[in-house]
């Protein structure tokens, strides 16, 4: 059950810097572990994350095996226009998850 959790202020003043918090459930299996019978557990991680603000990319991150399960990413941007924030996670085994958040700039 992959489920992203987004937290942004619903209303914000123009020009103000605000924080965007994202959390997604993912096991982030490193690929370095073995089962008790010696079989390698294949890597299964989120490899990339991006966030766009009204279609323009404002934040992007590449993720690696050392990042813990349920990755929590937080970053800041400046409030320019009302609109939507689109989030996208891509990962191994065809993992793909999106989320959107609305923001009102006054």
């Amino acid at each position: 059950m992959a489920r992203p959790l987004i937290n942004v202020p619903a209303k914000i003043k123009r020009g103000q810097v605000f924080e965007i918090k994202t959390l997604i459930s993912h096991i982030m299996e490193t690929g370095f572990r073995y089962t008790t019978t010696g079989a390698q557990i294949p890597r299964d991680i989120v490899t990339a994350f991006s966030c766009s603000y009204n279609g323009e990319e404002i934040f992007r991150a590449d993720l690696y095996p050392a990042i813990s399960a349920n990755p929590f990413l937080t970053f800041f941007t400046t409030a320019t226009e009302s609109g939507t924030l689109d989030f996208k996670w891509i990962g191994d085994k065809g993992f793909s998850e999106t989320a959107t958040a609305k923001i009102v700039v006054e």
């Binding site: 059950m1 489920r3 959790l5 937290n7 918090k21 959390l23 459930s25 096991i27 982030m28 813990s68 399960a69 349920n70 929590f72």
Partner: protein
């Protein structure tokens, strides 16, 4: 006749012995108990970042389980095609304080049952659904969701006389040396809390935040998982999930934490 007599003798003997051990344990353990005002949750010893993680639901990864639990609460399941919500309605009202008083006595089993067992009992009796496995995502999610409704409330073990022998059994397990390391729970968590074991701080083992998101596990986990963890650490054979010994320990720990605040779902290193 003969057989019945010898059986009777055994029962009487056993009763006398258990009464004696009960006195001995009560006497020996009373001095070692942590004074009520000296008790502290593991939260107090968390780092700044971990505290922030527990305090803010939008950062706490356990929220992912709580939200799944909320969805499961409303999901119809089993042969009866009923959801938890069909009987208990709004969990934010009906489940308030429930986790704070579990484990509770089950007349049907003549023994205490913990919250996970209560959920599975509900599933088998009312939903006619197969029980959820211990530590499965769904059981953790439901337990976390139910537990969340008691956050901030005081741990209030039921004043049920039928639980007394089980609390004592739990205390006995807590104070009994086990494993190759040959130590009891109490030696660390009653006698040496606040000191270091290798680089780690020894906590008081207060069960106020379960199920917890443990950073070491990278996942949510139950109190029984944590107990088994310690037993393995002592190189003892851990009791199976759902074993009466584990439930008695849970019961004793909740009794020991009476009055402390429920933090479910907590974050721990």
């Amino acid at each position: 006749m003969n057989r019945r007599m010898s059986l009777l003798r055994t029962v009487v003997c056993r009763a006398v012995v258990s009464a004696m051990t009960a006195f001995a344990i009560a006497g020996a353990a009373l001095g070692a108990d942590i004074p009520l005002d000296k008790r502290r949750s593991g939260y107090a010893d968390l780092g700044r970042d971990s505290k922030a993680m527990q305090d803010d639901d939008t950062i706490n990864p356990a929220t992912l389980w709580v939200l799944d639990g909320e969805a499961l609460w409303k999901e119809k399941t089993g042969a009866a095609n009923r959801a938890c919500a069909d009987c208990h309605q709004d969990a934010t009202i009906s489940m308030k304080g429930v986790a704070a008083r579990y484990p509770a006595f089950s007349p049907a089993r003549k023994a205490p049952i913990d919250l996970e067992q209560r959920i599975n009992l509900c599933r088998s009796e009312h939903q006619q659904a197969p029980p959820l496995a211990y530590e499965s995502h769904d059981l953790l999610a439901l337990t976390a969701y139910v537990g969340r409704q008691s956050r901030g409330m005081a741990v209030t073990p039921p004043s049920d006389g039928r639980l007394t022998p089980f609390i004592e059994a739990g205390r006995k397990l807590f104070t009994r040396r086990i494993g190759q390391i040959d130590m009891s729970c109490a030696q660390c968590h009653d006698d040496n809390w606040g000191k270091k074991l290798a680089g780690s701080l020894i906590p008081q083992a207060q069960p106020t935040g379960y199920p917890i998101y443990r950073l070491e596990w990278q996942s949510l986990g139950s109190l029984q998982r944590r107990l088994r963890n310690c037993m393995t650490g002592l190189r003892a054979e851990a009791y199976e999930y759902g074993a009466p010994e584990n439930v008695n320990l849970e019961l004793f720990l909740m009794w020991r934490a009476r009055g402390m605040q429920v933090e479910t779902p907590a974050v721990r290193p």
